[in-house]
């Protein structure tokens, strides 16, 4: 009767990514969709769309709530204006810089354990639930901010007064050490670097592998980045609640596969950049300890500021402080 029908029912869902076709997410989301179909015995069919095929990126959150798509792949920093703890979740400066592990994969493991095993995820889930969204799982974007510059920069003196294209909270981060943060759309950045409108720009690793900014700004400035920036899949709570438990479990399992897929994919991206470094097309420029410390001071001040946002942010940040042994 009822159960048998529920067991036969096929659930068709639409997911849109925050990123356009050409971004890695289009490859990795296929893995998610295939895994969901596999684990649910074909009862879960997830169709993938890229930005801006159904909704523009900055509207993805509200559009998912309204039921235009059933779920989204994106990152908390983007919805921080509505869910402030999203800033903490995505890329709190230096919070996810893991010195105790060495490889890309090990660092990812440490971060995932922190999210999943300490109640950190529960804080986030609670906040997204207030917006009728279910936080399904997380994934990585590799190191962020990924900074490329037109000149070699190793000290804070070098950075002082340099114009950097930066986004969101990172504007304050770079300004803190004396850079001038500029808002420029990613599509104009290549030209802006080429013509000297800005001296540096930040993004994730696709700044090199996707947008080829290194052709005009070959210096890869390191020392202020998190090893992993964290993204997420959010499901409209209305749609999530309608799913039977076994389908929910299948989706969770698929989302874990997705995490693994993104770790693998971004590891490959970094390897591709390393290869360019060997060929001399990208030049590594590590900041000296003094400048790294200065960045750390700025970051920790930003943590304290962000903790003021709301109760969830405050809880999340004190949890991170304990984990990272900060004050």
């Amino acid at each position: 009767g009822e159960n048998a029908r529920a067991a036969e029912k096929v659930y068709r869902m639409k997911i849109q990514s925050l990123y356009p076709r050409g971004d890695l997410s289009m490859e990795t989301l296929k893995i998610f969709s295939d895994a969901a179909a596999k684990y649910s015995d074909g009862r879960l069919k997830i169709k993938i769309f890229a930005e801006p095929e159904i909704v523009p990126g900055d509207q993805l959150f509200v559009a998912t709530k309204q039921g235009v798509v059933d779920m989204l792949q994106g990152m908390g920093g983007m919805w921080g204006g509505m869910v402030p703890v999203g800033y903490v979740e995505f890329n709190l400066p230096l919070a996810f810089r893991i010195s105790e592990a060495s490889t890309f994969k090990e660092k990812a493991r440490v971060i995932r354990d922190f999210y999943m095993n300490n109640g950190f995820m529960d804080i986030l889930r609670e906040e997204y639930a207030k917006q009728d969204m279910y936080l399904l799982d997380i994934h990585t974007y590799g190191p962020v901010p990924f900074v490329l510059s037109t000149k070699k920069m190793t000290t804070c003196e070098d950075l002082n007064g340099m114009k950097i294209k930066a986004d969101g909270g990172n504007m304050a981060y770079h300004s803190g050490v004396g850079m001038q943060a500029v808002q420029i759309s990613p599509s104009e950045t290549y030209m802006a670097l080429k013509l000297g409108t800005v001296d540096a720009a930040e993004w994730d690793v696709s700044a090199v592998t996707g947008m080829k900014w290194h052709e005009v700004a070959p210096y890869w400035v390191q020392g202020m980045e998190c090893d992993h920036a964290i993204g997420h899949i959010l499901v409209s709570m209305k749609k999530w609640d309608r799913l039977p438990d076994d389908v929910k479990a299948a989706m969770h399992k698929a989302a874990e596969d997705y995490w693994v897929a993104t770790v693998d994919a971004y590891e490959k991206e970094i390897a591709a950049v390393e290869k360019l470094v060997e060929e001399g097309k990208v030049k590594v420029s590590v900041l000296d300890q003094e400048c790294q410390d200065k960045y750390a001071d700025v970051a920790h001040n930003m943590w304290d500021e962000m903790a003021q946002q709301d109760e969830a942010s405050s809880k999340a940040i004190s949890m991170i402080k304990k984990w990272r042994n900060v004050r």
Partner: protein, 157 residues
């Protein structure tokens, strides 16, 4: 009735005249940002954010303004040969089409506006500009645009 129609036209035109000056504000802010960045090495964090909101208001007002000034384009290759009777029919069709499009926009932008208002949505980043005023203005501008369509229809008859 006629007074109401004229009143709506008058509002659309005056509101447009005033809001049309926003483009000078946008121009000024862009110039300020460029000079501040290039001349004084101190770029702003607010220039583009504010400009986007101003541009939003500009466009929302522009729809109705273009309408009452007959600036919305139609392909008149066949239309110009139609008899006045058929032209009246077309103006009804136009009205129906406008209601369909703008009605949907009015409905959905209202829920978007309310949602933004409920979460007091602000811009991401360091300059936390409230985003709900523009989102709340969207249905207002759409409604004015739609009222403009009523005026144009009744004038035609």
């Amino acid at each position: 009735m006629k007074k109401i129609l004229e009143g709506i036209s008058w509002i659309l035109k005056r509101l447009g005249d005033i809001c049309s000056l926003l483009i000078l504000v946008i121009m000024g802010i862009v110039s300020y940002e460029v000079i501040a960045r290039y001349g004084f090495n101190s770029p702003t964090s607010w220039a583009w954010l504010i400009n986007k909101q101003l541009f939003g208001v500009f466009v929302m007002v522009a729809g109705g303004y273009a309408l009452v000034h007959h600036a919305h384009i139609r392909i008149e290759i066949l239309y110009q040969h139609f008899s006045p009777k058929i032209k009246v029919l077309i103006s009804w069709l136009t009205f129906a089409a406008a209601c369909c499009f703008l009605g949907a926009l009015l409905w959905k932008s209202t829920s978007m506006g309310l949602e933004s208002w409920e979460s007091r949505e602000v811009a991401m980043g360091i300059f936390k500009l409230p985003l709900y005023p523009l989102k709340l203005f969207m249905p207002v501008g759409t409604l004015l645009f739609l009222l403009g369509c009523v005026v144009m229809l009744l004038k035609k008859k």
